[in-house]
Structure formats: structure tokens, C-alpha cells
Amino acid sequence: MDPILLARIQFGANISFHILFPTITIALGWVLLLFKVMFNRTGDDKWMNAYRFWVKVFALSFALGVVSGITMSFQFGTNWPGFMEKVGNIAGPLLAYEVLTAFFLEATFLGIMLFGFRKVPNWVHTLATFLVAFGTTMSAFWILVLNSWMHTPAGHEMRDGVAFAVDWASIIFNPSLPYRLTHMLLASGLTCAFLIAGLSAWRWLRHDRGPDVMIALRTGIAIGAVLIPVQIIAGDMHGLNTLKHQPAKVAAMEANWETRGHVPLVLFAIPNERERRNDFEIAIPNGASLVLKHDPAGIVPGLNEFVSADGTRLHPPVAPVFYAFRIMVGIGMLMLLLSWTCGWRLWRKGDITTPLAWLLVGMTFSGWVATLAGWYVTEIGRQPWLVTGVLTTAEAASKVPAGMIASTLAMYLAVYLALITAYISVLFHLAGKGLKGVAAPAGVGVSKGGAPVHPRGATARNG
């Protein structure tokens, strides 16, 4: 098999596995801070009990993010040596700043946040929670700066085929960064919101309906309901930004072959790249022109514009980008429907219903699917480039033999599959333990006033 394809699958598998966990922890860190601050302000134990449950989820997700992130820091070199040789002068400082300003901060204060509740004053524990949330967000900022620069490079000049930094402000605040960062942070918020709502709904279904479960359920639904319309608007703006800087990607997203006006919005089709047309197309007339140009006659660039005279394809493969985009948007619509229905229900009747709870459980990991689909749109959509206009993926690939990549790929895939299975089953296991904790209180916490309370589900160890 082609070593470049294998290297891409391996890196893609690893980065896909990795992003699942930061997507949860970036937003969950802030939700934990919210729980902690609400506890400090109200003294109501439901907030602290919600904190104690979700901090376990945070710790588990964080550990998975750390180990897969370490793997990634090595794979930059093992899989893409050409990347650092050519754009290392840009990528290097950005990665270094991520490690220096984010990784140490979050890793160190995580210890205090998890295990320091009895060892430090309450305000230090709150501060540690804040610093962990801040660290995860800083880390997201730096890595998205680098990723955005790869999509829309700016502030550099090429000397002898190597990129040199000229203007760091333009490198950091490159054209796609504001949109990509907003879109990703909102994606994290939504992923976390549906995880919280889903697991809380699972507890609710098991008649574990204490005040901490209900407050988490409400928080999850509220965050989801507020963020999803914002995300739809931010996503649309990100799309317009992409149209300006990477029109080939948008053409693949819309499966639009010809540059023309009155472009329909394709709801479904099977893109046929060999004959360069869509089979079984269902479309809304003028839709894409309206969405992208805000004008039914708006001229939208098509894929055929990105084929060189000798027939070389300079646009991304159409089908994966096209399908992934529809999966992402479809899940977004489901999120809107479900979170608003649940929000309405909570507002009017004060509780959810059993069918709604099951739907929430079903959507627990919907944020993961949407986030991955979105990343596939943007990353596959950048091909054949690794850094738009600067470096192709093929040029950056390593010379490691295909057999070696294939065998390690098989190992990584097996481990990732096992870990995802373990992660999901342990989350539901933790969620299912709540009622047992009430029956046999094993851990004793201290409430704000100093009176001992029995935290739900706390066991003698940190389990």
C-alpha cells in the first residue's frame, strides 16, 4: 500500500482519537468552574456534588487527551518530517508556546484541582479549577493558530523553499483563525453540553434524580440550547471565510462542479468524480448561491476551475468532504431540535419526559461525531495541500517503509478501539453508580459551613 496514504491514515486516526478528549475537556473545565463558583456563592451542596461527579469525567477524559497528545507530538516527526523542515520556523514557536504556556499549567494544577480539595484553601482550589480551564483553552488557541495558519498562511516569506517568519502578529491572527477558533470552541461547548445532558438523562432514567443530577441536566440542556444557534451562525461565517480563501474546499463541500450563478443547494447526491458530476442529486434551486453569496444569481466557483491544464486535480477528493459536511450539519440540526424541545419542556413543566431522556442518551456523543465530521471537512478539504500554497502533503511525508507504518497503524487502531470502548463503558458505569452511593455512603465530604455531607457516589478511592 502507498506509504503516504498509510501515514495519513495513521496520523488521521491518532489526531481523530486525540481531538475527542480535548473537545470535552476544554468546555468541561469551564463548566466545572461554573459549578465551583455556584457552590462558593450559594453553599448549596448540589453544586459541589455535581462538581465531584463531573471532575471524574474530566480526569478520565484529560488522561486520554494527554496520552494521545504525547503520541501526536512524536508523529509530527515520524510521519511528516518535511513539515518541520519547510515550515518549522513558523510551526516550531507556536508549538513551543503551547507547551510552555498551556501544557505545564494545566498538568500541574490538575493535580491540585483533583486531589487538593482538602489540602489547600477553598479559593486556591477554585483558582486551580480556573487555571486548568484556562490552560486547556490556551492550548486550543495555540494549536488552532497553527492549524489556521496551515489553511490560510500569512506573515511569512519563502527563502530557498523554506518559510521564514516576517510578522508574528499576522501569523498568529491569520485570516481564518477568528472563525476557526470560535467554531471549535463552540463545538467543544456543544459536545460537552450533550455529554452532560446525555449522562444526566441516563441517571434520570435510572431514577437517580437528586438535585445534583437535575442541576447538571439543566446546565447541559441550557448550554446546548444557547450555543447551537450561535454555532450555526459562526459556522456560516466560517464557511464564507473559507469561500474567500479556499474556494476549492467550499466547491467540494457543495459538490458544485461548474463555476456559475443560480447554484442549487445539494441536499443529497453521490458525487461521481470520474465523470465529474453528481448522481441521484436532490437540490434546492439557487440555494447555494443564496447561502454563499446571499444572492440567488450569485456566481460560485466550481471544482472544474481547480484542474490544471494537464488534468492534475488541485482540489480535494469530493465525496468525503461532501458527506462529512452533511453529517456535521445534520447533527447540528438534531441538536437544535432536541435542546430547544428539552429546554421548552423544562421551562414549562420543570422536568423532561422519558422519550426525551432516551433521545438525550442517544445524543450523548453526538458532539464527537459532528466535531470529527467538521474536522474531516476542513482537513480533507485542504488537500492536496498540507500548508495551502506552500507545501503538499506528499512532499512532507517520511521515508519510513510502508510495512512499518502498517504494523504500527494496526497497533494504534487496536489500542484506540479498546480505549474508546473502555471510556464510554466507564462513563456509563460511573453514571450508574449514583444510587448505590446514596444507599451506602462511603465518602464524607465537608460542606461550606463545615457540616459533614455524604457526596453521592463518592467511594473511598478516587473512583
Partner: protein, 335 residues
């Protein structure tokens, strides 16, 4: 950019920074990987206590590896490509080990009861795999990535040696962080692994000049040998002093419980200095010097500025974290 920080000085500074990161990693993750391996000799309750001694620290400890490899990547990209492609398989196995060990911290207490023992073994196996592969890579590096059975035989020896040294580190850490029966066992483990570590260090010190005429020349030519004698002499004296000290442990008075750990750290520093002296100025032995491998001075300067601002903070809050979790380890709990 000040003239002092030109294309000659900057690579040197970065080589030093990278060296410090790697040394910090080997010491810090060394003790927690060592504790992980020693868990093979403990029951479930002792394992909980052992994990409690490293639980708040391991994550930050491992970040030094990311910084070290990150500095190699950003400051010496050519060397990074050469080294990591040569070490492709052992790196993949080490990552497997670190992954298993890292997630086992959480799963060993959060998973369903019947699986917790499995995760304990993932913890132990992952720690061992990480230590062995790191030693193996160190061996390949010392041998300059030459082909042939001798290189691999040496690397296997180095793997065993580094794993023993990590166990030694972990055992001294446990002496400092535990008391009672577990501390007594930790003292015994420290004595055993002290011998193994000494054998390993002697073997590597003898083998390195034998396989590399350049290193032989660096160490044994006159007058270098006089200036360098303190390194092996201090190492030998430290080993002997630790041996004597350990015979009187465990002590009723706990004020000196961290002495073995401090001794182990000093041994690691000395060993590291010896290796650094052997290889300077090469970053890939016999192939690439730090100047040949360095990236553009402008980019290095930007990173250096950031590092100079941020590193004191990192040192500060790391110290704070060790202060918060000072003394004998208590049960890890979230509430």
C-alpha cells in the same frame, strides 16, 4: 536580536535547554515509571498507596518529555527527522506503554470492579514497556544508530539498565513518600535496585568508549582525564554512601526519608553530565552537530524569549504543587 544571541550561541542555548528538559523528564517520569514497575511486587492496597504518591505529579512529569521532544523538533528539525525515523518502532512501543500507563491511572479505580485488576497490570506493563523502550533507544543513540547485532545487544543491555535505574528512582521516592511496612519494602527494593543501577552505569561507562574511539579520546586523553575524574569518583562515592545510609533505614525519625531520593537524583545528574560530555557537540552521534541541525536564529530567539518569561512561572507552580502534596502521601480523593 542582540548580537550575543547569534547563530552560534542560540543553538548552544537550545541544546542546553533540551538537555535540561530531558534530564528533568528522566528524573521525574523516572520515579513515577519506577513506582509503576514496582507495583508488580505489591498487593492491591499497597498499589493504591503507591499510586497515591505519584497521582498528583505524573501528568506534569510527562510534560517534560513533550517539551524535550518539542525543543528537538523546533530547534533541531533535521536531527528530529533523522532520530525519530531511526527510532520509529521503539518510539511506537514507548507511546503504547505511556498510553497504557497514563489511562490506567484513571481506569484502575473507575472501571467496573472485575476489570480493575486488568488495568493494574496495564499500569505495570505500560510502565515497564516505557522504561525498557527508552533504555533501548538510549542504547541505539549511544551506538550512533549503527547496524548490526552488537548495537542491538548493547541496546538491550541499556534497556535493562535504564529500567533498573527507574525502579531505583521509584523505590527511593517511595521511601520518601510512605511509611510503615510499605516503606520497609521500599528500602529493600532500593538496596536491590541500587546494585542493579550501579552495574548498569558501570557497563554503559565501559562500553561507550569501547564502541566509540572518539569518546575514548575525549575521556582518556591527557589532560582531560584529570579534569573529568571527579565525575566517576563522585558517582562511586555516592553509590557507597547511599549503600551505607540504606543499611540504617527505615528510621523511626522520618526527617531523612528523602535522602535516598536526593542521592538518586544526584546520580542521574552525574550520569547525564557524563553522557552529555561524551556526545557534545553532536546531536546525532557522529553525523550531525548542534549547529548543523539548528533552525533559523529568528525563530529560536522568539522561543527563547517565551521560555525565559514562562519557565520561572513553571518552576514556581511546580514547586507549589510539590509543597501542597508534601510529606507522606495520603489517599487520593476528590472530596
Amino acid at each position: 536580536m542582540p548580537a550575543l544571541l547569534d547563530g552560534h550561541t542560540l543553538p548552544l542555548i537550545f541544546a542546553a535547554l533540551m538537555g535540561v528538559s530531558i534530564l528533568a523528564y528522566v528524573i521525574l517520569d523516572g520515579y513515577d515509571l519506577g513506582v509503576g514497575m514496582l507495583m508488580a511486587r505489591a498487593d492491591r492496597q499497597e498499589r493504591d498507596r503507591m499510586v497515591a504518591t505519584i497521582g498528583p505529579f505524573w501528568d506534569a512529569n510527562e510534560t517534560w518529555l513533550v517539551l524535550g521532544i518539542g525543543l528537538l523538533l523546533v530547534a533541531f528539525p533535521t536531527a528530529h527527522g533523522m532520530v525519530l525515523q531511526a527510532l520509529y518502532l521503539p518510539v511506537a512501543l514507548m507511546l503504547l506503554g505511556l498510553t497504557l500507563r497514563g489511562v490506567a491511572f484513571e481506569f484502575r479505580v473507575k472501571a467496573q470492579e472485575q476489570y480493575q485488576r486488568w488495568w493494574d497490570w496495564a499500569f505495570i506493563g505500560g510502565s515497564a514497556l516505557s522504561a525498557l523502550t527508552q533504555g533501548y533507544m538510549l542504547g541505539l543513540y549511544i551506538m550512533g544508530f549503527q547496524e548490526g547485532w552488537l548495537t542491538h545487544a548493547f541496546a538491550i543491555g541499556a534497556a535493562a539498565g535504564l529500567a533498573a535505574a527507574y525502579c531505583f528512582m521509584g523505590a527511593t521516592w517511595l521511601v520518601g513518600k510512605t511509611d510503615g511496612d510499605l516503606q520497609g519494602r521500599a528500602v529493600r527494593w532500593t538496596r536491590l535496585t541500587l546494585v542493579a543501577t550501579a552495574i548498569g552505569m558501570v557497563a554503559v561507562s565501559l562500553a561507550t568508549p569501547l564502541v566509540s574511539p572518539r569518546i575514548l579520546e575525549r575521556w582518556f586523553s591527557f589532560p582531560n582525564i584529570i579534569g573529568l575524574m571527579p565525575i566517576p569518583l563522585m558517582t562511586a562515592a555516592l553509590f557507597a554512601a547511599l549503600w551505607v545510609f540504606l543499611r540504617r533505614m527505615p528510621r523511626l525519625d522520618h526527617s531523612l526519608d528523602f535522602v535516598p531520593f536526593m542521592g538518586a537524583v544526584s546520580l542521574f545528574v552525574l550520569g547525564f553530565l557524563g553522557l552529555a560530555y561524551s556526545f557534545y557537540p553532536y546531536i546525532v552521534p557522529e553525523k550531525l552537530t548542534i549547529w548543523q541541525a539548528a533552525s533559523a536564529p529568528e525563530s529560536l530567539f522568539i522561543i527563547l524569549m517565551g521560555a525565559l518569561v514562562v519557565l520561572p512561572f513553571i518552576a514556581g507552580y511546580t514547586a507549589f504543587s510539590y509543597y501542597v502534596f508534601r510529606g507522606k502521601a495520603t489517599e487520593l480523593r476528590y472530596d
